[in-house]
């Protein structure tokens, strides 16, 4: 398992239970993966709070949120299986917030018809990662911390291991494995304003791409509507959607609650793409806040509820921005949050297009289509982490160990060592910053052909310059050296994002084209695929998998726009009253 977030750990647990010998390899210390930052909750149709909820409604919400270019089978499996996965997490020791009668409490979230998000205050990700981590430790699964893998090793067409380095001492390391599960997360770090940590460099997907796997929907990058804006050092840090789920609302500089017009039904709890665009438009129209955002207000909830349900938000604003959110509104603006795109996988097994390579979680694609709903990522990790782990462990029973090709290892060593040679002149951090700025300017929330093409030129130029990077120091815990290799993956993914964004000449979900504001029904029937053609990023299309009639009829009322939402939750479900 490459990656020790929710998906990698859940896959490891499953594979280990099936009798496979498992090693988890991760870039950071165990328990620090990006899953830990998830705040709001995990979506599962338990119907504990709203009894009318069921998997079909969850399925429809997910497909509609994704603008119907999702893989329907993944969305179906996800909606059907997530309740069981949540309950299972409690058997590992997790404890969610509870209803008065002792069941798991669920909260409202954007574009979910019913209150569906199982949560622990605003630290759900921490609860999840710690429970999985404890389980891994309990089962005695082998974990290799602070090891970065940079290349998949192949024997013919089959993936038979991976190669990389130990971050601590810089020694090279090769793993021989009958199967590899890629659970390496996303690539938010390619952008300047992001809620992602340094780890989100797209390296897993980049490795898969290099080895010949297909990358699906790369252009679909999610902006979370609410990131911190001020002060500059915290720009992009996430403000959980739970703030709106608990009843927080958005206002512009004139104090007007603009979501009332944008989406009169769901208001602040519309889907993330809609809310992010609305904020962007307010700022463009000159109604932004002092630092170019909108206000997010929870004062009406009362200090007690804020501190109980949103404790880490309270702390975060107080410490980092000198704002007491019980007394003043939060200033927020959209921030890069999530990659809907990733390795193309088979729904049931997480198998990629390469034999022996599986993917799950954010590194895989298909479930979320053009826009992910809040809370669907944590359930994604569990549902498809488990499936990938199970499929990989049954695959390894059928194959033998491959033979490591020394030439591949030597080639990768050469790539890795290049920046340490004294010849280079470029600063790896500054190149990374320039890439982030280029992507922010050219492939951000609002896109148009001219800007995308400029962005592509800048990426290609940076790629040239990246061959001349020089990093001082040794291989011993040298972040500059680590960044140099990460940058290669980031450039590959950035190119895939931009090339696909140019070709998708329409607006759909997170992909908003100022020069093509409408949806194009023809493009609604295809997914873009980026693939490696002799070292070049090439694009092709694949038809969106067609839903079987019994599922398709759930969308009978749907044309190309998001439908009128299914019956809104009964009024007590709007948790806007202060509970005393």
């Amino acid at each position: 398992m490459i990656g020790a977030g929710g998906a990698g750990m859940r896959a490891a647990i499953e594979a280990s239970a099936a009798g496979a010998r498992v090693a988890v390899v991760c870039k950071s210390l165990l328990g620090k993966a990006h899953t830990v930052m998830a705040e709001g909750g995990i979506a599962a149709a338990l119907a504990n709070v709203d009894p009318d909820d069921n998997w079909q409604v969850h399925f429809q919400d997910t497909m509609r949120g994704g603008q119907l270019i999702n893989n329907w089978r993944m969305a179906e499996l996800h909606a059907r299986e997530s309740p069981e996965r949540v309950y299972e997490l409690e058997t590992y020791g997790a404890i969610f917030d509870r209803t008065p009668d002792g069941r798991i409490l669920q909260r409202a979230f954007g574009a979910h018809t019913y209150r569906r998000l199982c949560h622990v205050g605003d630290r759900t990700g921490l609860e999840m990662i710690r429970s999985l981590q404890d389980r891994i430790v309990h089962l005695g699964i082998e974990v290799h911390m602070e090891v970065t893998l940079t290349r998949l090793l192949k024997d013919g067409d089959r993936v038979i291991g991976a190669f990389g380095y130990n971050r601590v001492d810089g020694r090279f390391v090769a793993f021989k494995a009958k199967a590899v599960v890629m659970a390496t997360g996303g690539w938010g770090r390619i952008y300047k304003v992001t809620s992602n940590s340094w780890e989100g460099t797209g390296d897993g997907v980049g490795m898969g791409f290099d080895a010949g796997a297909e990358v699906l929907d790369p252009e679909m990058v999610q902006f979370h509507p609410t990131g911190m804006v001020w002060p500059p050092g915290v720009r992009g840090i996430l403000v959980t959607e739970a703030v709106r789920g608990e009843g927080g609302y958005l206002t512009n500089s004139e104090g007007h609650r603009f979501m009332l017009e944008v989406d009169p039904k769901k208001k602040e709890l519309s889907s993330r793409d809609v809310v992010a665009r609305a904020i962007y438009k307010e700022v463009q129209a000159g109604r932004g806040t002092e630092h170019g955002g909108a206000n997010l207000d929870v004062r009406h909830l009362g200090a007690e509820k804020i501190k109980k349900k949103l404790p880490s938000m309270y702390e975060q604003f107080l410490k980092l921005a000198d704002v007491d959110i019980t007394k003043d509104p939060m200033e927020i603006a959209p921030t890069i949050h999530y990659a809907m795109g990733g390795l193309r996988v088979e729904a049931e097994t997480g198998a990629t297009t390469l034999a022996g390579l599986y993917a799950a979680g954010e590194a895989a694609a298909g479930l979320h289509g053009a826009n992910r709903l809040g809370g669907n990522s944590l359930s994604d990790l569990l549902v498809f982490g488990r499936r990938a782990g199970a499929a990989a462990s049954s695959y390894v029973r059928e194959v033998g160990l491959g033979k490591i090709d020394e030439r591949q290892v030597a080639e990768e060593q050469q790539i890795l060592l290049l920046p340490l040679s004294p010849d280079g002149t470029e600063n790896t951090y500054l190149l990374q910053q320039q890439l982030q700025q280029a992507m922010q300017d050219g492939a951000g929330l609002a896109r148009e052909e001219k800007l995308l093409k400029t962005c592509l030129d800048r990426i290609l130029e940076l790629r040239q310059r990246s061959a001349r990077i020089h990093v001082p120091g040794s291989r011993k815990y040298n972040p500059g050296w680590h960044t140099a290799r990460d940058l290669r993956f980031m450039l590959t993914i950035a190119e895939a994002i931009v090339r696909a964004a140019i070709e998708r000449r329409e607006s759909r979900g997170a992909h908003w084209r100022l020069d093509y504001l409408e949806k194009d029904p023809a493009l609604g029937r295809v997914n873009f695929i980026a693939y490696n053609d002799g070292g070049q990023v090439k694009l092709k299309t694949r038809p969106v998998p067609e839903m079987p009639p019994e599922l398709a009829k759930l969308f009978a009322d749907t044309t190309s726009t998001p439908p009128a939402s299914p019956p809104p939750a009964p009024s007590p479900s709007k948790p806007q009253q202060v509970r005393t």
Binding site: T91, I95, G140, P231, G233, Q316, Y477
Partner: protein, 353 residues
């Protein structure tokens, strides 16, 4: 905010060299935190400066360091709080240095492996039902982000380097989370008394002062665990037994006495640590503490508070006040919750009968 640059003194060095502070000047930006300044140095002056970080939002606990001598998260420490002072940034000193600000914290992960994990009853129905009032107290422990600042500041680990005697505050918090989990069935008091070494803590509360999650580590985790351990391990019986026989480390179980015969139950022998049932109101269970010279018994009476046992006493009873003797505590197995349940059910049945 002044436009004067921030002056940082950052520790540079690794295990193979002595190392020392290196001075850097970083342009001040409003709201800057120490981690921002370190990143600026890394990008512009020292590409190979080693530091750990992930979330930059105080959620992952990676960027622990000692800032002007105090263990803190770099991402949560504003540079403006130091006004015009130089800011000294160094690695956590309790753990072996790897390089610059990065230390080898692997010992923590090894310790964690020794703690028995969450163990629900095999037949506990899923989905779990747990009442809010029972789960609420566990949340505080589960807020821990494993930054290891508490481990860094703990004088047992830091000054005495006694990592073999004490697991440290982080793992007291973890054990507390497991012990207080409403559905956990395992006892870890033996571990606490032994290898985990909760007794090593002498409650200076330094750990809870540095906790970035504001967990009251000493008050709400360590002290309750000490109490729990005292009940289970250093119970009064053992203490009294030790008083009677100061040269023996083991609990004395040889103070047998031929008690006066009760007509109802026939002659009985009572030993220290025997579990008995009292005839008095409530027909409570008790445990023999000591046998007094006049043949009376000092007993400790069992009160169940939910699943938690309290032994009240000592109370002096006559042997004729006792109906049943179930035998030595260890064999009866109070402490194994199944037997405990059996005895309490038995108790209830007898009581109603």
């Amino acid at each position: 905010m002044s436009s004067a640059p921030i002056v940082l003194q950052i520790f540079r060095g690794d295990a193979d060299s002595t190392g020392g502070e290196q001075r850097f000047e970083v342009p001040a930006v409003e709201g800057m935190v120490v981690l921002d300044a370190v990143h600026y140095v890394q990008a512009n002056f020292a590409n190979d400066l080693a530091c750990r970080w992930n979330c930059k939002a105080a959620k992952c606990g990676s960027c622990s360091a000692e800032i002007n001598g105090r263990p803190r998260l770099m991402c949560k420490t504003r540079v403006d709080e130091f006004a015009d002072q130089e800011i000294h940034v160094g690695p956590m000193r309790t753990f072996p240095l790897i390089k610059d600000l990065v230390t080898d914290v692997s010992w923590n992960y090894e310790v964690n492996k020794e703690i028995p994990g969450f163990t629900p009853a095999a037949n506990e129905p899923v989905p779990y039902r747990m009442l809010p009032e029972d789960t609420e107290r566990v949340y505080e422990y589960r807020k821990c982000i494993e930054c290891f600042l508490c481990q860094d500041v703990c004088h047992v680990l830091r000054n005495h380097d006694d990592k073999s005697a004490y697991y440290g505050p982080r793992y007291m918090v973890r054990i507390a989370a497991l012990e207080m989990h409403p559905l956990d069935t395992r006892k870890r008091t033996g571990l606490l008394h032994g290898k985990a070494g909760v007794g090593m803590c002498n409650i200076t509360k330094c750990c809870q002062e540095v906790c970035p999650e504001h967990i009251k580590i000493t008050d709400n985790a360590i002290i309750p665990l000490k109490e729990r351990m005292a009940t289970d391990v250093y119970d009064p019986v053992v203490r009294i037994a030790r008083k009677l026989n100061p040269f023996s480390g083991a609990p004395a179980t040889t103070d047998l006495v031929e008690a006066e015969a009760s007509q109802a139950t026939g002659p009985q022998r009572f030993a220290v640590r025997d579990v008995v049932r009292l005839k008095t109101r409530g027909r409570r269970l008790a445990r023999v503490g000591s046998v007094l010279p006049d043949g009376k018994l000092e007993v400790w009476v069992l009160h169940m508070n939910g699943k938690v046992q309290h032994w009240d006493g000592p109370k002096v009873v006559r042997t004729s006040d006792i109906t049943n003797n179930y035998g030595p505590l260890d064999e009866v197995g109070i402490g194994s919750k199944l037997v405990e349940q059996y005895i309490t059910q038995d108790h209830a049945a007898e009581h109603h009968g």
